[in-house]
Amino acid sequence: MRRIARVREGLALLICLIHVLPFYILTTTSFKAHDDFSSKWVAPGYLYLDNFVNAWREAHLGQAFMNNVVVTAGSGLLIVLVGSIASYPLARYRTRLNRAVYGIFVSALIVPPLTILVPLYRFMVDIGAMNTLWGIILLHVTFSLPITIFLYTGFISSIPFELEEAALIDGAGRFRLFYLILMPLLKPITATVIILTCVNIWNDYQFSVFFLQRTEMHTITVALSGFFSQYNNYIGWVAAGSFLGAIPITLVYLFLQRYFIQGLSSGAVKG
C-alpha cells in the first residue's frame, strides 16, 4: 500500500509540473534582458525588471486596470440585482407566460452573443454607447443574464415556500417578501453567480476590443493586444505584459480557490 501511495504522489507531481510549464516559460522570458538570446528553458541568473517597467508604461496598464475594475464591479453588481429580482417571479409563479419568459432567457445560454456582432456594433453606435464603460457594462450584464437567471431560478425553487407563506400571512407585501426573507438566503448562489460571470467579464476580449477602441477606455486585454501588435519583436516586453495582466486574477483565485471550484461544481451539478 505504501508503494502505491508513493506512485500516486509521483504521478500527481508530474501532472502539476506539466501544467506549470507555460507559467515557467512565461517567467523566464519576462525576466530576461533584450540582448540575452539563451533558450527560454534557461532561467536568467540576474535580476532584470526593465521589461515590466516598459510594458506597464507603454501598454498604459495602470489605466487599463482601473477600467477593468470599474467594468467588472459595475457589471457584477447589476448582474446580481437584475438577475435575482428577475428570477423571483420565474421561480415562484410558474404561469404559462413566466415559463415562456424563462425559456427565452435560458435558451440564450447555448447561443453565443458574438453571432450578432455586426448589428450590435451598429446599435451601440446609434445609442452613443461606443467607447463608454456604461455601454460595455450593459452588454456584459445582458449576456450574463441567462446563466444568472438559470442559477437563481433553480436555487429559489429549491427553497421551501413556508417561510414566505408565514410572512405573507403576517401581512408583508409580496415585494417585501423578496428582499426581507429571500435575499439573505441567496448568499451562496450569489457567490457562485459572481464567480462564474465576473471571471468572464474580467477576462473579456472579444467584446471589449470592438466597443472600447479609445486608449483611455481600454481594458487589460485590449491594452495588451494593442501593445503586442506594436512591439511583437520585444518578446520580453510581451511576456512581462502578459505576466502583469494575469497576476490580479491569479491572486484572487489562489486566495479564494475553494469558492471558485465549489462555484463551478455546484453550478454544473445542479444544472
Binding site: 409563479y93 447555448i110 495588451l224 451539478v269
Partner: protein
C-alpha cells in the same frame, strides 16, 4: 429623507387606485423581470433581427445607405472556399477540444478521486489556466510555438536541423490552437467530472465489488452510467466554448496565414473590421448562429437521452 417619504406616499396612493381584486394578484411580481427583459430585447433580440436584415444587403458597415441584394450573400457563402475551410476549423476547435478536454479531464478526475496526497494542489494547478484570459493564454503559448527561439523548437533542434513552423503551417496551426484551448480548459472538465464522481454513492461500488466486478467492470457499469449528467454538462460547455473560440486564435495567428486558422467568429470579425464587408459578415454571423445552436442542441439531446435516472 423627505424625498423618499414623499415618493413612498405617492406610490401608496397610486396602489390604492387599483381595484382590490387586482391589487393582490401575484402577477404584479412579473414587473421584477421587466428590466432583464428590456436588456434582452435591446441588446440581443433587436440586433438579432437587424442582423437577419443586413444579411440581405451589401452594407459596408458605416454608410447610411445600402442596397438590397436578395440571397447573394448566402449564395456567395456557399461557394466561398474560405468559408468551407473555416467551418472545418470551427468544428475542430469545438468538437476536437471538447473531446480532448473531456478525456484528459476524466482521467484527472478519476485519478484525483482516489486517495492521493497532493490532490488539492493538483486540482488548483490544473484549474488555474481556466481563470486566466484566453488572450493572455494565447500569448503565453506563443513563447512555445515561435519559429525562432520558441521553447518547443529549442528541443526540436536537438534532434533535427530544421525548426518546426508550428503556427505558419496551415496543416498544423489549427491543431496547435486546439492544444492551447485543451490545456486551458481541461481543468473545467476535471472539476465538473470530479464533482459528478463524488455524488456517486459508495455502496454502489461496494455492491458491485461483492458481486465480483473488477475495476474495469465497475467503471463500465457503475461509474460511467452514473456520471452521465456531469458528462453532459462538461461536454456541452466545452463544445460551446470551442465553437466560439476567438481570443486564442487572435493571439496566436490572427487567423492566418490567410484564413487558414480562422474560426467563424474571427472570420466575421475580419470581414467586418478589416474589409468593411458588413452585409457578408452578418451572413457569416447568422451561419454561426445556426451551426452552434444545431450542434449544441443535438449533442445536448443525445447526451440527455443517454442519462439514466438514479432509481
Amino acid at each position: 429623507m423627505p424625498f423618499l417619504d414623499r415618493t413612498r406616499t405617492g406610490i401608496r396612493a397610486l396602489v390604492r387606485l387599483i381595484p382590490d381584486r387586482w391589487r393582490n394578484s401575484p402577477a404584479w411580481l412579473n414587473l421584477l423581470y421587466v428590466p432583464a427583459l428590456l436588456l434582452f430585447g435591446f441588446f440581443i433580440l433587436y440586433p438579432f433581427i437587424r442582423g437577419l436584415m443586413y444579411s440581405f444587403t451589401n452594407w459596408d458597415g458605416y454608410s447610411q445607405t445600402y442596397k438590397w441584394i436578395g440571397w447573394s450573400n448566402y449564395r456567395r457563402m456557399i461557394s466561398d472556399p474560405d468559408v468551407a475551410r473555416v467551418i472545418r476549423n470551427t468544428f475542430i476547435y469545438g468538437l476536437g477540444s471538447a473531446l480532448f478536454q473531456n478525456i484528459i479531464g476524466l482521467a484527472y478526475a478519476l485519478f484525483l478521486n482516489l486517495n492521493v496526497r497532493l490532490r488539492g494542489l493538483t486540482r488548483t494547478i490544473v484549474y488555474l489556466p481556466a481563470i486566466i484570459s484566453p488572450l493572455i493564454m494565447g500569448y503565453i503559448w506563443y513563447f512555445f510555438f515561435q519559429y525562432h527561439g520558441g521553447a518547443i523548437n529549442d528541443i526540436v533542434l536537438l534532434f533535427s536541423d530544421e525548426p518546426l513552423n508550428l503556427l505558419g503551417d496551415p496543416d498544423l496551426n489549427v491543431w496547435m490552437i486546439t492544444v492551447v484551448n485543451t490545456y486551458q480548459f481541461c481543468g473545467v472538465a476535471m472539476v465538473i467530472l470530479l464533482a459528478g464522481l463524488q455524488v456517486i454513492p459508495k455502496d454502489f461500488h461496494e455492491a458491485a465489488t461483492i458481486d465480483g466486478a473488477g475495476a474495469l467492470a465497475r467503471f463500465r457499469h457503475v461509474t460511467w452510467p452514473l456520471l452521465a449528467p456531469a458528462v453532459t454538462v462538461s461536454v456541452v460547455l466545452n463544445v460551446i466554448g470551442g465553437l466560439k473560440l476567438f481570443d486564442v486564435i487572435t493571439a496566436l495567428t490572427n487567423s492566418g496565414p490567410g484564413y487558414s486558422s480562422a474560426s467563424l467568429s474571427t472570420l466575421m470579425y475580419l470581414l467586418y473590421f478589416g474589409r468593411q464587408d458588413a452585409g457578408y459578415a452578418a451572413t457569416i454571423g447568422n451561419l454561426m448562429f445556426v451551426i452552434i445552436s444545431v450542434v449544441s442542441f443535438t449533442i445536448l439531446f443525445y447526451l440527455k437521452r443517454r442519462e439514466t435516472p438514479l432509481a
